[in-house]
Subunit: 132 residues, 2 copies
DNA sequence: ACAAGTATGCACTTTTTGGTAAGTATCAAA
DNA sequence: TTTGATACTTACCAAAAAGTGCATACTTGT
């Protein structure tokens, strides 16, 4: 029971729907870099810093299955493959721009916030250094 | 080693920075509902459907610690508390709108995509029911 | 013969995330 | 006195996400 009591098909709102598609640590970043045009696997890997092969491939497969990107295999050897946004993916990716802008404008804040989080996670004997 | 080789303070780009702040299943949704103005805990819980007390509180605390929202305790009994966006949080939340719009416009697609994912995860003996 | 670069696949393990269910304090209504 | 409402807190546990490292197939360079 309890199917869509108040709203749309199982979602709280449009944002909810979107989030289910781009959830995960890497998808938004991958999409965003694809905005520059079709990109080879290796290039993507260098662009999305810190991503592992496993994750990158996995997310690319999901994005492809979800119709947001297309994979092109040039059947060459050594292998050559690239990924590009579909029109659906392009629209979604454009919607990510404002987030990028916010992040750029508030990078200093974000950096501070993240640093503070670190402190709480590894407070060690901070009090000592603190009083010194 | 390897500190900010090519880009900004440890981030791939502005989007990366933003994502670190709103990562998680619930934060964007919480922020988005707060756009309607200060909201009590209970209201939020009803708005963000499916969230548990634990998660809601936890995310609210983090958002507060990160300076995106403010908590107001009216010191009444039974307890009354509400949450509101700070100006920083408001800016960020506004940047979420396009995602909401995309989700609304493509809800049908998203629904299909999500359904397809389910199939792969629980394929059981679907072929049987399929041919029936 | 051997290492390197290409785009993956796969098994294994850790880390992170999220859910459930219970408990707290206070007052009011039944 | 038991129940209900409010806003949480806590402990415990399952599931999902992500990281590590090794392997493949083919070719070019040494």
């Amino acid at each position: 029971m309890n199917s869509t009591p108040s709203c749309l098909a199982g979602f709280s709102c449009g944002l909810d729907a979107t989030l289910r598609v781009i959830a995960g640590k890497w998808k938004p970043l991958i999409l965003y870099f694809l905005l520059q045009g079709p990109t080879r696997y290796g290039e993507l890997k260098r662009a999305v810093r810190g991503v592992s092969d496993k994750m990158l491939i996995q997310q690319l497969k999901e994005l492809e299955a979800d119709g947001l990107i297309v994979r092109t295999d040039y059947k060459e050897v050594p292998p050559r493959v690239d990924y590009a946004l579909t029109s659906l993916g392009l629209d979604l990716t454009k919607a990510l721009e404002p987030l990028c802008v916010w992040g750029t404008n508030n990078m200093a804040e974000v950096t501070r916030v993240l640093a503070r989080r670190e402190e709480w996670h590894a407070p060690k004997r901070a009090a000592v250094a603190d009083s010194a």
